[in-house]
Each structure stands twice: as C-alpha cells, then as structure tokens.
C-alpha cells in the first residue's frame, strides 16, 4: 500500500483513575475508510480527541506525512489537515449554512465575499454529493443535513482526514445510506475517513480497514478481505456471546394499558402526539420504533402523568388514569425508565443508597410519617446492588461516577424492585456496550416472563426485533404502522420511520 498518511505510535492517555489509551498504535493511509470499533468506554473517542488536538497524550507520537507533530489545540490539528465531527454538532443554529461553514476558517480574507463562498460551497457539494442550500438557516435543516454541513465545514478547512464520532447514531436508515455513499465519494477524491462506531453491520458495509479497541488497547487490526463479524465481536468484548437473547413465549394476559386517541403538546407547545392509540397486554412487549423527536418522550411522559393530556384517555387495568398526578400513577404500578438516565432517572449528586430510595421512600418499610429508616434503606440498597451486579466502590458514592452500564443496571434495579404492572422503557441500551446491553435485555425479558407489560421505545431496530412481540412505528406523533415482530420487514420499518412509507392502517403522513 501507499505510504501512511498518519501514524499514531504508543499513545498513552490517562485520566484520574483510568487509563483511557494504553500504548495504542494506529495507521491511516490516504483514501481509506478506517473503522475504529469498540465498546463504549474502550477509548475510541479519547484516541480521536488526541488526534484532533483536544487532548494532549501522556506519551506517544503522532507522525503525519513522515513528520512528527505535537498538537496543542484543534487548531494545530486543522492546520495538519485533520478535522473531527463530534456526536453533538457544533453549529450555530441561527446562522446560515454559509456562515457556519466559513466560521473559524483561517484562509478567508478579512472581508468575506459571500457570493464567492456560496459558489465554493455549491462546488464542494457537487464534487462530493453533499447538497445543501448555503442560504438556509441551520435550524431549518434536518439532522442529516446538519451533518452534511459539518462535513462541508471540515472539507472547506482543507482537511484530508475526516474523523466522525458515531455519525449514524442520529440518522434514519436512508440518511445513513446516503452518508455512506458520500463518504465513499470523498475517499475516491483522496480524503481519508476515520469512522468511530460500535455497530458491526456498518463496519462490514463500509470499512476498508478496521482497528478494534478494548479497554484502551488495540486488540486487532484487519483489512476488508479478512473481516468476519464473529471475530470482530470477540475482539471487541473478549468473550463469546451466547447468541442474541430470544423472547420467551409467554401467555399474553388481559389488557393492561389502553391509550385511546390522546393528544399531547410538546415542549414547544405544538401537538406532540396526534390522536395516538395503542394497547398492551400482560406479559407483552410492544416495541415502538422511530427517530427521536417523533413523540417518544411525550408518549412516555403522558402515560406517567408528567405531561398534560389535552384530549383522549388512558386506562390502566380498566381504570382511568388520565391526568392523574405522577405519584398516583406510580402507585398504580407504572414504572418508567427514562431516556435521560442521569438527571431524571437518577440524581447525579446523590449516593447510590439515596437514588435507590427514590421510588419507595414513602413505603412503611423505609420511612415512618417523619423519619427515614436508615438501616432498612441501606440493606435494601446493598441487596439490589448485589442482585443486579452494579459495580461500585461503595454504596455511599454519588452515582455520577458510575459508568453507563452500571447506571442503567442501577436504574432498572430500582424500577423492577417496585414490581411494576406496566414498565415504560425508553432507549434502554443507548450508549451501552454489548455486555451491558445483553444484561439489560435479559432483565426486560425476565420482567416479561413475570407478566409485566412493557412498552419499549427504541431507535435500535435490532433491539426491537430481538425483544418485542409487536413493533409499531412512531412518526410525527402518530402510530404509523404496527406489525407482529416475526413479520417485520426492516426496510419497510426504515421507510415508515423516515415518514415516507405506506401505513397498513392509515394514509401516508403529511407534514
């Protein structure tokens, strides 16, 4: 192969208490798509932040075109032709596309020639297939378009290496396909791409080469021709996963939850749910697919009494719970694992004991009229931490120091301990590694086997298919389609999620 473009050698990066990167080597050639694969917390993002100049390594060298460089800030990295797109876009919403792209560019004159810049942007777009309207305001754009603007900005800065941190996490399947074809076109023009991901199918589809990280070290690096998914998984997690968890067929009981034609406002005061209806039976998992922002949060919060229902009704076991206050609904056996684990589900600054008390502090076992029963509370916390395998140095630690997987195990432990009749779970495995994801899925399946009705809201189609009995698609505040899980066509689901499918029940949604 050609001479390497970038070589990272023996990179070590320490944070208090952890080694994020331990003697990591990485070589990038011009014009390749290099996937950086690993579980959450394996050091992928840290390594890329080192390459981007955001972090300074404790040891190791970065060699670009045969010359060693030390980066003090991302500006130095940009000067060497390295640009990174973070998971959270760094765009200024009230500015136009053109303004965002030229912002921070050093090669501009003092007086910006708007027309020239717009022509340049259109030219770039044509060259790489990245079409955006330079006059549009960023807040008007879809997520996919915003990502295109980010890419254009990096290219405009003259970068020859584009680092993308989990770029598909926010995209619909059609948008992902388009991103992939754009990336291929860029590499044909000689640009290199590093693609951070923990999704195997994306690696198989896109990567020319793969480097796998586990616990801060490189566990393997291979060419496209050698790729083999099973081997990749083993390199990532270091153990053989006993296949995917399969739903246990449980007898479905009577209807637990009945949502009838509800309308709910979103945070902007517009309709977040439009006459949405669904029902859910004992021991059933109903999966709701959909791109974030199509009513997921509104639905979960409406059922839990955290959001006012304007129209329609919700019945739990035949009893009307529409617009009851949250604690009354809690008492009815409704449990909720929110998307926002640290902040809503758990209180970051409170200890593990105090967090485990959140839902049951009023029970006679844990408190009297005035005082808390400290001993019973601590014993309960110790038992839950042990049973659900939460790894923590002590029960008196604030939960904010726990890793994502442990936070989610802790949260589920508390919610399951309430012995819910209905459990609402939103993005339960988002950001978790494969090991933790399997644990969480198993907990949900156990709960199902115990006859709890589960409403699973997720964007991960694999997860939905693996767990659900039925799958529906949320789009624009409506249920855009519903299938038994074993008859699901992933392509059709993808189309429904993007709002362009034919529903089997209603008319296509107009926006």
């Amino acid at each position: 192969m050609a001479t390497p473009f970038i070589q990272m050698q023996g990179i070590v990066k320490r944070f208090p208490g952890v080694i994020a990167n331990d003697q990591v080597d990485l070589t990038i050639y011009p014009g390749e798509i290099h996937a950086l694969l690993g579980e959450n917390g394996s050091g992928k993002s840290t390594l890329m932040s080192v390459l981007d100049g955001l972090y300074q390594p404790n040891a190791g060298r970065i060699i670009i075109d045969g010359e060693e460089h030390k980066f003090g800030s991302p500006r130095d990295a940009i000067a060497c032709g390295i640009g990174m797109i973070h998971q959270h876009f760094k765009l200024v919403e009230p500015f136009t596309v053109a303004e965002n792209i030229t912002m921070g560019a050093k090669n501009g004159d003092f007086w910006l020639s708007t027309e020239k810049i717009k022509q340049e942007i259109i030219g770039f777009g044509a060259k790489y297939g990245l079409h955006v309207n330079p006059n549009a305001y960023v807040w008007q754009l879809s997520v996919g378009e915003k990502q295109r603007v980010e890419i254009l900005r990096i290219l405009y800065q003259g970068s020859r290496l584009l680092i993308m941190d989990e770029p598909t996490a926010v995209l619909t399947p059609p948008e992902t396909a388009e991103l992939f074809s754009n990336l291929r076109r860029m590499t044909e023009q000689g640009c290199a791409v590093i693609f951070i991901t923990h999704k195997l199918n994306e690696v198989m589809e896109l990567a020319d080469r793969v480097t796998v990280l586990r616990a801060g070290r490189v566990t393997g690096s291979m060419e496209r021709s050698q790729l083999n998914p099973n081997q990749l998984v083993q390199l990532m997690v270091g153990r053989d996963l006993a296949g995917r968890s399969k739903p246990i067929q449980t007898e479905l009981g009577p209807v637990v939850l009945n949502v009838d034609q509800i309308e709910v406002l979103n945070d902007m005061g517009r309709l977040g749910l439009r006459a949405l209806s669904l029902s859910l039976r004992e021991g059933e998992i109903l999966g709701l697919a959909g791109v974030t922002g199509n009513g997921q949060r509104e639905l979960a919060e409406a059922i839990c009494g955290l959001r006012h229902i304007e129209k329609g009704s919700i019945h739990l076991h035949g009893e009307d719970i529409t617009n009851l206050n949250p604690s009354a609904i809690l008492d009815q056996g409704v449990s909720y694992v929110p998307e926002d684990r640290l902040g809503m589900g758990l209180v970051p600054d409170l200890t593990i004991i105090e967090n485990l008390l959140l839902k049951n502090y009023q029970q006679p076992k844990y408190s009297g009229r005035w005082l808390l029963h400290a001993k019973a509370i601590e014993e309960n916390a110790a038992a839950l931490v042990e049973k659900y395998n939460v790894k923590t140095p002590s029960l008196h630690q604030p939960v904010k120091i726990l890793s994502g997987g442990n936070l989610q195990r802790l949260l589920l432990a508390r919610e399951i301990a309430t012995i819910p009749r209905l459990m609402i779970v939103v993005y339960p495995a988002r950001g978790l590694d494969i090991g933790a994801t399997n644990d969480i899925h198993q907990l949900l399946l156990d709960l199902k086997a115990n006859h709890t009705a589960i409403l699973l809201i997720s964007e991960d189609l694999d997860e939905l298919v693996a767990l659900s009995d039925r799958i529906g698609v949320l789009f624009d505040g409506r249920l855009a389609g519903e299938f038994p899980a074993n008859e699901v066509d992933l392509d059709e689901l993808g189309l429904l999620m993007a709002g362009s499918g034919q529903t089997n029940g209603g008319e296509p949604n107009a926006i």
């Binding site: 909720y336 926002d340 809503m344 600054d349 808390l372 400290a374």
Partner: protein, 359 residues
C-alpha cells in the same frame, strides 16, 4: 504552562476542611496589606480584635450575643439554599419577624410572661414565614426569580418597621425619637446573670438539632435534597415540587423571623429602625461557608460574631469597625475562589498542558 488542572473523581475531604482555613489566612493577609497602605499596623489591629472579642468575659459574652441572630439567619437561609432557592431576604424576614412579635406587647402589655413569650416566638416566626412565602409562591407557581423578590422585600420589610416606629407605634413618651415604647418585663426574654446572653441561644441550638435531623434522617429532608439536586428527577419520582418550595420558604423565613423576635425581645427591648446591622446578609456568608451544614453554621456564626465584636473593639484604636466587614467579605471571596481546589487538583504535566478552548 507545565501545570494543568485535573478533575478529581470525588471532592477532596482534606481540601473541604483546608479551604476555609486557607481562605481565612489569605483574607487576613489581604486586609493586612490594605491596613498597611492606610498606615496602620495590621498585627496590632488583629491582636486587638482577637483579644477584644475573646479575651474578656464581656467580649466573649458579646460574641455569643452577636452569634445568636447570625446563627438563626444562617440556619434559616440554609433551608432554602438546600433546595437551590436563593433566599437572600433574611434581613427583611428578620425585620418583619421583629415587627410581628412587637405587636403583641404593644397591644396586650398586661399578658403574663408564660403567655407573652411563646406567643411572641410564634408571631415572630409567622411574620418571617409570611415574608418568605410571598417569593416562595411566586417562584413555585410562576417561576418568578426569588433572588429578586426576596431582595426587594427586604426594603419593604425594613421600611414597614420605619413607618410604624415613626408613625402609629411611636412611643408618645419617647421625646419624638423613632422608637416604640419599652416592652413590659413579661415581654423580655430571660437572660444569664449580668450578661446580655439571652435564652434565644437555646432556641437557636434547638433549631440546629431540629435541622440536623431534618436534613439527615427525615423523609421531608430527603425530598428537599432530591428537589434541590434535580427537580426533574423529583417530579419523575412523584414529589410535589410546588408544595415543597412553599414549605421550604416558609420554614426558612420562620427561622429568620425568629432572629428578629429574639433581637427585639432579648437585646433591644423595643422596636426601632436599624435593629440589625445586616445579620440577614452576613447570614448568607455564614450559610455558604458552613456548606449548609447546621453544625458548621454554629461554628461560623461564633467566628463572625467574634469578628463583629472585634470590629467594634478596634474603634478605640481609631480604626473603623468596617474593617470587620472587609474581612468578612474577603473571607467569602477567597473561599469561593479556593473551592476549585476541592474539585480539581493541580498536576505537573511537563509538556504543553491545559485544556483547549474548544470544549
């Protein structure tokens, strides 16, 4: 720069204790430089302050006398601050508490002490509670910023007292001074011997014990903690935030109002303007330095009581008592500045360090 800030995983216990001490030393140094510039000997002044406040029975007892209202205000403020309700209206709540307590002996001067004093305590607490409830309900219902409303109500409360003592409540036999009549003996809190230390000290210590249990072992204290740390999580757990905001403000104001009652009944013996030299504001500093911990607030109020008494004492050396206020202010300044040490450690990196401006 070869040094960089590294975030600590958990706040350092050592630094939590060391920071107030370091801050005290730095503020003494800082004020010392200031005193030197104005041509005085800082060591002499500091020695005079310490011996004035702690070196005699009189000084010590005066320190305790000052510590009582400071402690009550600090404790009251800490209740609201625990819920991230920034009640800076303790001064106003103190004045309204004093006003409400004064109403009783002026209206029913003949009541016996065992009726008079408990009722005055209740009235004082009710007055302070009412003054804090107004911002509380505004905040709970309509998200009105309580910093502004509590601050503004300070002026209104203080001016109400002025209006009454200049007008309807002015003592007809008072030679036109803006004072109410002297309270009857039954309306004066019992005190120790010849000192001015009154029974308000015991009331304050009882509240310390009450708050200690409330914050650490009670159901309501747990709710306050959750709401203060994360209102979203509190709502999710089914807690009633509106009600709890109102309750916390009521309790906060009641304790500050008690400070006003003990001042008029234990120290002054009548209502007058300027009955507090800013206890309600100093209480904010005390609550903050005590990290909202009731026991630490006790210690801090004695320290600040001593500072004030010391400040009065050095006036005989021709130094304005404002020196004490200057030291108070600079202690807070340095404590807040040095707090970063509890959350970060400074480490030597050798190469180019520091975090970039990108994040």
């Amino acid at each position: 720069m070869p040094f960089s800030w590294e975030k600590r995983l958990t706040p350092s216990k050592f630094m939590l204790l060391a920071v107030p001490c370091i801050a005290l030393l730095l503020s003494l140094l800082f004020c010392g430089v200031f005193l030197l510039i104005t041509g005085r000997d800082p060591v002499e002044i500091y020695v005079a302050m310490i011996s004035g406040a702690l070196g005699s029975t009189y000084g010590l007892s005066e320190t305790i006398v000052k510590a009582i209202p400071l402690m009550l205000c600090g404790l009251g403020i800490s209740v609201a601050f625990r819920m991230q309700l920034w009640n800076i209206g303790a001064e106003g709540q103190l004045y309204v508490g004093a006003l409400a307590a004064t109403w009783l002996p002026l209206t029913f001067p003949a009541l016996p002490a065992w009726v008079m004093l408990p009722l005055m305590v209740c009235l004082g607490m009710a007055g302070g509670a009412l003054w804090a409830f107004v911002p509380g309900i505004l905040r709970a219902r309509w998200q009105v910023n309580e910093i502004i409303t509590t601050l503004m109500l300070n002026y209104i409360g203080i001016l109400w007292v002025s209006y009454l003592v200049y007008g309807p409540w002015r003592d007809p036999k008072g030679l036109n001074f803006p004072l109410t009549a002297q309270f009857p003996d039954a309306a004066i809190l019992p005190f120790w011997g010849t000192s001015r230390i009154h029974i308000g000290l015991l009331l304050a210590l009882a509240i310390v014990a009450f708050l200690y249990v409330l914050f650490n072992n009670s159901r309501w204290g747990y709710e306050l903690k959750v709401i203060g740390s994360s209102p979203k999580a509190a709502r999710y757990a089914g807690m009633n935030i509106t009600r709890n905001i109102c309750l916390a403000m009521l309790l906060s104001g009641a304790i500050c109002g008690l400070a006003g009652m003990t001042e008029v009944s234990g120290i002054i013996g009548r209502l007058q303007p300027g009955l507090s030299p800013g206890y309600g504001y100093t209480g904010i500093i005390i609550a903050w330095l005590g990290q909202l911990n009731p026991l630490a607030i006790v210690i801090m109020s004695f320290l600040f009581g001593a500072l004030q008494v010391g400040g009065y004492m050095v006036q005989t050396l021709g130094v304005p008592a404002a020196v004490a206020s200057m030291i108070q202010g600079s202690i807070l300044f340095f404590v807040i500045g040095a707090e970063i040490l509890t959350r970060y450690r400074i480490s030597y990196t050798g190469c180019k360090g520091g975090r970039s401006d990108r994040e």
